[in-house]
C-alpha cells in the first residue's frame, strides 16, 4: 500500500454544502451546552488505518487468472461526509493483467482553502470552523517541503510568552514544539492524545500568523473545549513553541445510547438566538429546540450499528460517568471503526446530540445511495455514448449498490469484479461521490471504457522442417500461424462471435488445420430475467492422442492412434452460482482415427514379437472404417460449493456428465455414456478465517464412476491411469474399459504457505475391459486395474510428487501442473 500515490488520486471535492450543513445543524441540536455548537464533534480525519484494514484482499475463490494488484492509497478522508473512494480498474487491452484499485480519500471543504490556496481559506474556513481537523492539501505540503522556503526568526528575546495577536502578520514562524495543557488537571497531554488529531499544526512546520489564528478559531469553535487558547513562546534559535491551554467540555453523565441515521434528512433552519431574550423566552426557545430534536430523532432511520457494538458503547458511557469531549471522540472512533471495518466507507459520525440529558444520540450519515450513474468513456476519458446496454451492467451490480441502500466498499469491489468478468471493458471505475443536491447522499458512478468491438489478429511463424537427409531445404520451410477474429458485444448484449484458424503450414493446410468458430449468446431468457442462461454454438476440431492404444508395463511402444474430431456443437448453459452450472446441448461430430503418418486407421496396430507391426488390433471406430459420424445429446451438471478457506479448498463438488446417443450416424450409434464424479474436501480442523491465518488440514475423498450402455467405440472407452485418474501410471496404462471406478484419498497438511500431501488411489475396470470391442486392454497387455500411493508437495503451481505404482511396485517422481481434483 503506497500512500505516496495518494495525492495523484485525491479528488478535490467541493463539499462546502456539507460543511455548511453540519454547522447549521448545531443549532438544531438544541439541548444544552454552553457552547454554541457543542455537538459538532463530528469529524472525521478518517483514520487511514480503518480504511485500509477494510481492504483485505478479497480475492474471490476461483478467481480469474489475472493478478489482483491493489494499489491502495488510503488518505484521510476530508471532513465532509462526502468522503470519496475511487475504485479504479485498469485492464490493459492486450496484457489483460493489470488490476488496480486506487483509493483516494476525498478532501474536505476547508482543505482547499487552507493550504497554499490562500484566498479561499478565509471563507471556507469560516464555515468549516466546526471541524477540528484540517488536512493540508497536497499543494500546501509540497510548499512546506520546498527547500527554498525559508522561515523567519521571531526576532524577539528568547523565552518570553507572546500573545498570538502580538505576532507579526508578515513573518513565517517555524514551530518547534506543540503542547496541549489541560487546565483542569494542570498537566500537558501526551502526543498520543486524541487532541493532537485536531490541530493541523505540526512541530517543525512553518506558519503565518493568519494560519495560527485560524487554527485557534477552529479549535475554539469545534465544541471540544469550553475554553481554549494558543500561546507562543519564543525560543533562542528563532523558532517558537506553541502551548495550547484548554478546558475540556463535559456534560451530564448518560446511561442510554442511541445511534441514528440522519443521512438525507432535510436540515432544519437555524433560528438565531436573540441575545435580548427573557429567561422565559429562552426556556421556550430551548424547549422548542428540544422538541425539534425529538422530532428529528423520530424521523431518522435506524442505523446499521449492531446491538453488541451499541452495548459496548453504553458500557463506555457508564464507566466514564461524566460525558466528556474525549469520551465522545472515543465513541465516534468506535462507531466509525465498526462502519469502516464493515465496508461502509462513506459512513461518518456527524453529530452528537441530546447531550446533557440521560441519552447520548449519535448521528451518523451512513452514505445512502441516492443515484446510480453508469457512464461510458471514450479513449480520452470523455463521456460518450456506449454500445453496451445498461441492463447488462445493472444485472452485474450487487443489490447493495442500488439506490436507497447504504454504500458499501465491498459491494463496490464486488461490482468491479462482476463487471470485469463480462470482459467487455478495458477500464472500470466504481466511484462514490457526494450528492450535491441531496446532503449526505452518495451518487455511485460506474465509469466504463469499452473494448473495441471487433478485433482481428494474425500471427505467423515459420518452421523449418528437416528435409531429406536431415538437412533443411527451401521446400521444407513452412509458413504457419493463426488467423483469428472476434466480434464482441454484438447489439450491446454481450453476444460474441469469434473464430480462429491455426495451421503449421499455410501451403498445405489440410495437414493440420485447427479451427474454431463460436457464437455466444448470453441472457437467453432476456436481460431482465434473473435466470442466467447462455446459448453457445460452435464449430470445432481437435486432435488428440488416444490413450486407449497405449501399452501396459513391459510392452514396447504401441504405435499411436490419433483421434481427430470435427463437428458442431450447440448447448445452453445455465449458471446457478459462480461454480455450479447445468449445460445441455447437441453434438454432431465426425471422428477420424489416424495412425502416426496421418493415414486413416481402422484398427489399432500392434507390435508382433517378431518386431513387425500388424495392423489388425482392436477396431478404432464403431463403423470399422476409421471414420465415424454421430449425433448425440450431451448434458453436464456441476454442483460445486467449494471455497477457499485461508488458501485451502474446502467443500464438495459433484459432476454428472451424460452423453446420450440418438441412433443417428454410422452404424446408428445408440448409447448412454455416463460419468459421475464426487469429490469432498473435508476440513479436519476448525480454523479462524482471515488473511494470514493458517489453512486447515484437508482430507480429499474422490470417486469417479464411468459407464456406458450400448454402442461404445474405442475412442469413447474410459481409460484408467494417468495424472487425473490413477497417479503413478501413464495415461491409459491400466486399461480401457466400458465401466470404470476410480477411488482416491488425499490428505493435505499445510506447511508454511504451501502444503504437503499423501495420497492413495485405485482404478478398476470392473471386469468390463472385455466389453470394449477388440479388448484393447488385453491386446496391449494391461492389467485392467491398479493402485498407487505416494506423497508430494505443492510448490506454487507445480506439484512435485513421488508415486509408487503397485502393479510393478516401483516409484517415480512426477512434476505436474495444476490440481489433481
Amino acid at each position: 500500500m503506497s500512500s505516496s500515490a495518494a495525492p495523484a488520486h485525491l479528488l478535490p471535492l467541493t463539499s462546502s454544502a456539507a460543511s455548511r450543513r453540519r454547522c447549521s445543524k448545531s443549532s438544531a441540536t438544541a439541548s444544552v451546552s454552553r457552547l454554541h455548537s457543542p455537538e459538532s464533534i463530528v469529524q472525521s480525519n478518517l483514520p487511514s488505518a480503518a480504511l485500509s484494514s477494510s481492504l483485505q484482499n478479497p480475492k474471490p475463490s476461483k478467481s480469474p487468472p489475472f493478478l489482483l494488484n491493489y494499489l491502495i492509497s488510503p488518505k484521510s478522508l476530508g471532513p465532509s461526509a462526502a468522503s470519496c473512494i475511487l475504485f479504479h480498474l485498469a485492464k490493459p487491452v492486450f496484457s489483460g493483467s493489470g488490476y488496480i484499485f486506487n483509493f483516494g480519500g476525498g478532501g474536505g471543504g476547508g482543505q482547499g482553502g487552507g493550504g497554499g490556496g490562500g484566498g479561499g481559506g478565509g471563507s471556507d474556513g469560516g464555515e468549516g470552523g466546526c471541524f477540528w481537523t484540517r488536512i493540508f492539501s497536497p499543494a500546501a505540503i509540497a510548499k512546506d517541503d520546498e527547500p527554498q522556503q525559508e522561515w523567519d526568526s521571531h526576532g524577539l528575546p528568547a523565552n518570553i510568552v507572546v500573545q498570538l495577536n502580538k505576532l507579526s502578520g508578515f513573518k513565517k514562524y517555524k514551530v518547534s514544539e506543540i503542547l496541549f495543557l489541560d487546565r483542569r488537571r494542570g498537566s500537558t497531554v501526551g502526543t498520543e492524545d486524541s487532541f493532537f488529531e485536531m490541530v493541523s499544526l505540526r512541530p517543525g512546520g512553518i506558519y503565518t500568523k493568519a494560519q495560527l489564528q485560524k487554527e485557534l478559531e477552529t479549535l475554539a469553535t469545534c465544541g471540544m473545549f469550553e475554553k481554549v487558547d494558543l500561546e507562543t513562546k519564543t525560543n533562542p534559535d528563532g523558532t517558537i513553541s506553541i502551548t495550547i491551554p484548554f478546558l475540556e467540555s463535559t456534560w451530564q453523565s448518560a446511561d442510554r445510547f442511541r445511534c441514528i441515521n440522519v443521512g438525507l434528512m432535510p436540515q432544519s433552519k437555524p433560528i438565531e438566538m436573540d441575545p435580548d431574550m427573557t429567561e422565559k423566552e429562552r426556556l421556550e426557545y430551548y424547549r422548542s429546540q428540544e422538541k425539534d430534536y425529538r422530532r428529528r430523532i423520530e424521523r431518522s432511520r435506524p442505523c446499521l450499528l449492531p446491538i453488541p457494538v451499541q452495548r459496548e458503547i453504553l458500557q463506555m458511557l457508564r464507566q466514564q460517568g461524566k460525558v466528556s469531549a474525549r469520551l465522545l471522540q472515543r465513541i465516534r472512533d468506535r462507531v466509525q471503526q465498526w462502519y469502516h471495518e464493515n465496508g461502509y466507507a462513506c459512513a461518518q459520525v456527524v453529530n452528537f446530540g441530546n447531550l446533557n440529558t440521560k441519552e447520548v444520540v449519535c448521528e451518523v450519515v451512513e452514505g445512502d445511495i441516492t443515484q446510480l450513474v453508469i457512464q461510458f468513456q471514450d479513449k480520452l476519458g470523455n463521456i460518450c455514448e456506449g454500445n453496451t446496454q445498461f441492463p447488462v451492467i445493472k444485472r452485474e451490480l450487487p443489490k447493495q449498490l442500488r439506490q436507497g441502500q447504504v454504500f458499501n466498499i465491498e459491494a463496490g469491489k464486488q461490482a468491479l469484479r462482476n463487471i470485469n468478468s463480462l470482459a467487455l471493458f478495458s477500464n472500470i471505475e466504481v466511484n462514490p461521490r457526494p450528492d450535491e443536491k441531496n446532503e449526505g447522499g452518495i451518487i455511485v458512478e460506474v465509469k466504463l471504457k469499452e473494448l473495441e468491438q471487433k478485433s482481428a489478429e494474425v500471427s505467423t511463424e515459420w518452421s523449418i522442417v528437416p528435409g531429406r537427409g536431415g538437412r533443411p531445404t527451401l521446400a521444407s520451410i513452412q509458413p504457419g500461424g493463426t488467423v483469428s477474429f472476434e466480434h464482441r458485444n454484438i447489439k450491446g448484449l454481450n453476444r460474441s462471435l469469434l473464430g480462429s484458424v491455426t495451421t503449421s503450414n499455410f501451403l498445405n493446410p489440410q495437414d493440420d488445420l485447427a479451427f474454431k468458430l463460436e457464437y455466444v449468446h448470453p441472457y437467453l431468457d432476456g436481460v431482465y430475467n434473473p435466470r442466467n442462461r447462455t446459448f453457445r454454438a460452435s464449430c470445432f476440431n481437435s486432435r488428440k492422442l488416444s490413450p486407449v492404444f497405449t501399452g501396459g508395463p513391459g510392452i514396447e511402444e504401441v504405435p499411436p492412434i490419433w483421434v481427430d474430431r470435427a463437428g458442431v456443437k450447440a448447448n445452453i448453459t445455465e449458471n446457478f452460482t459462480r461454480q455450479s452450472k447445468f449445460t445441455y446441448g447437441l453434438v454432431m461430430e465426425e471422428i477420424t482415427t489416424r495412425d502416426e503418418s496421418s493415414h486413416i486407421a481402422a484398427n489399432g496396430q500392434r507390435v508382433l514379437p517378431s518386431g513387425g507391426v500388424s495392423a489388425d488390433g482392436p477396431p478404432t471406430t464403431l463403423s470399422g472404417t476409421g471414420v465415424d459420424r454421430m449425433a448425440f445429446l450431451q448434458a453436464n451438471i456441476t454442483r460445486d460449493n467449494t471455497k477457499f478457506l485461508n488458501g485451502a479448498i474446502v467443500g464438495e463438488r459433484n459432476v454428472f456428465q451424460l452423453d446420450q446417443g440418438l441412433g443417428i450416424g454410422s452404424k446408428f450409434p445408440f448409447f448412454n455414456r455416463h460419468q459421475l464424479t464426487v469429490t469432498r474436501f473435508l476440513q479436519l480442523k476448525q480454523v479462524e478465517e482471515g488473511a494470514g491465518k493458517p489453512p486447515p488440514p484437508v482430507l480429499v475423498l474422490h470417486g469417479h464412476y464411468g459407464g456406458c450402455v450400448g454402442d461404445l467405440p474405442s475412442y469413447d472407452a474410459f481409460t484408467l491411469g494417468g495424472p487425473y485418474s490413477v497417479r503413478g501410471y501413464n495415461m491409459g496404462e491400466l486399461g480401457a474399459a466400458r465401466n470404470i471406478l476410480e477411488l482416491a484419498a488425499e490428505l493435505r497438511i499445510p506447511i508454511r504457505n504451501t502444503h504437503v500431501y499423501v495420497f492413495a488411489e485405485h482404478g478398476n475396470d470392473l471386469g468390463s475391459s472385455k466389453d470394449v470391442k477388440g479388448n484393447p486392454t488385453e491386446v496391449y497387455r494391461r492389467m485392467g486395474h491398479g493402485s498407487s500411493y505416494g506423497a508430494g508437495v505443492k510448490l506454487g503451481l507445480v506439484r512435485a510428487e513421488y508415486a509408487v505404482d503397485q502393479n510393478s511396485g516401483t516409484g517415480a517422481i512426477f512434476f505436474r501442473f495444476g490440481e489433481r481434483f
Binding site: 446457478f576 508382433l608 455416463h674 450400448g710
Partner: protein
C-alpha cells in the same frame, strides 16, 4: 485350398484295405444316422502335428507340412466327399505366439469360420497335443480357456483330445499304458480347468483321447495298417472316436454371427437405455439440482448484503 470345390475322396483308396473297410463302415454308420456332413475343427499349439494329422486322416498331402517351417499361416479347410457324404476338416494355425495365446489367431480362425461355415455346425473339435511332452503348464490352460471363451463351454461336449507322436518309448519304470494314462489324465485335467468344468460336471464331459503317429516310420501290422505301440491301428481308431463324438447326442456348435464376433457387448442392455436415461434424470440430475438450490440458499452472504 479352402475355397475350392468339394473333391471326391479318392485318397481313401490308398489306405490299406483293412483300414478302408473300417472307414467305409464308419461312414455308413454315420449315413445311417442321417449325418451327411462331418465338420472337424483341429486346434492346438503350434508344431504339435495338427496338419500332419489332417493329412493322415485324408490320406493325402493336402496341407503342406515341413519339419522346421513353423506354422500353417492361416486356417485351411479340406473337404472330401464320398458317395454323398462330405468330410470337412479345418486345419488351423497354432494358437500360441510369442509365449502367449494369440487372440489374433483366434480371430482369424473365427473370421475364417464366418466366411466358409456360416450357419453350419462344427461336429467335432480335435484338440491336438503331443504325447511325448511330460509337463502340462499354464499355457495349455490358457489355450483351453481361449477356445472356451471363443466357442463356449459346449464345444467340449464335441471335443476329443488327440495325442500325437504316440510312438515313443516311455521313460524308465513306466509302461506305455501307464504313461499314456498319466499324460492323458493330466491333460484332461488341464482341459477341465481351462474350460472351467467343475468336478461334478466332469462326467457330462467325457472327453475321449486318441493317439496318433503321423511319422512314416510308424510301425505297421500285417495288413499294412499303421499301428500304435499297443498294436491298435490308429487311423480307424481315430475315425471311430470321431464318429462316436459326432454321434454322442449333443448338438454341434453352430457357427453364427454371434460366435464369430464374440458376445457383442455393444448390444447388451441397449433396450434399457430409455429407462436408464429416465432414472438418470430423476435420480441423479434432479437431486443434484436440488443440492445446488440448497447451496444457493445456504450460501453465506457477505455482511453487507
Amino acid at each position: 485350398m479352402a475355397g475350392e470345390l468339394v473333391r471326391e475322396w479318392t485318397a481313401i483308396q490308398q489306405f490299406p484295405a483293412a483300414t478302408q473297410e473300417k472307414l467305409v463302415d464308419l461312414l455308413g454308420k454315420l449315413k445311417n444316422q442321417d449325418v451327411n456332413t462331418l465338420t472337424i475343427l483341429v486346434m492346438g499349439k503350434g508344431g504339435v502335428g495338427k496338419s500332419s494329422t489332417v493329412n493322415s486322416i485324408i490320406g493325402e498331402r493336402v496341407v503342406t507340412v515341413s519339419a522346421f517351417q513353423a506354422e500353417t499361416p492361416r486356417p485351411v479347410m479340406v473337404s472330401r466327399s464320398r458317395s454323398g457324404f462330405t468330410l470337412n476338416i479345418i486345419d488351423t494355425p497354432g494358437l500360441v505366439e510369442g509365449g502367449y495365446v494369440s487372440d489374433q489367431v483366434l480371430d482369424t480362425i473365427k473370421s475364417f469360420l464366418g466366411r466358409f461355415l456360416l450357419n453350419k455346425t462344427i461336429d467335432v473339435l480335435l484338440y491336438v497335443d503331443r504325447l511325448d511332452t511330460y509337463r502340462v503348464d499354464n499355457l495349455d490352460k490358457q489355450i483351453v480357456k481361449a477356445i472356451t471363451d471363443s466357442f463356449g463351454k459346449e464345444i467340449w461336449h464335441k471335443a476329443m483330445v488327440v495325442l500325437t507322436h504316440a510312438q515313443l518309448s516311455p521313460p524308465d519304470a513306466l509302461s506305455y499304458e501307464e504313461f499314456f494314462s498319466k499324460r492323458s489324465e493330466s491333460l484332461l485335467k488341464c482341459v477341465r480347468q481351462g474350460a472351467r468344468i467343475s468336478k461334478k460336471d466332469a462326467k457330462n464331459f467325457g472327453i475321449p483321447v486318441a493317439l496318433v503317429e503321423n511319422s512314416g516310420r510308424c510301425n505297421k501290422n500285417e495288413h499294412d495298417e499303421k499301428i500304435l505301440p499297443t498294436g491298435t491301428p490308429w487311423i480307424p481308431n481315430l475315425v471311430h472316436i470321431i464318429t462316436d463324438v459326432s454321434l454322442n447326442g449333443k448338438s454341434g456348435i453352430l457357427v453364427d454371427q454371434k460366435l464369430i464376433e464374440g458376445p457383442n457387448a455393444n448390444d447388451r442392455g441397449k433396450v434399457f437405455i430409455p429407462l436408464i436415461l429416465a432414472l438418470q434424470y430423476f435420480f441423479v440430475i434432479k437431486p443434484i439440482q436440488k443440492w445446488i438450490k440448497d447451496d444457493v440458499a445456504r450460501e453465506s452472504r457477505p455482511a453487507w448484503d
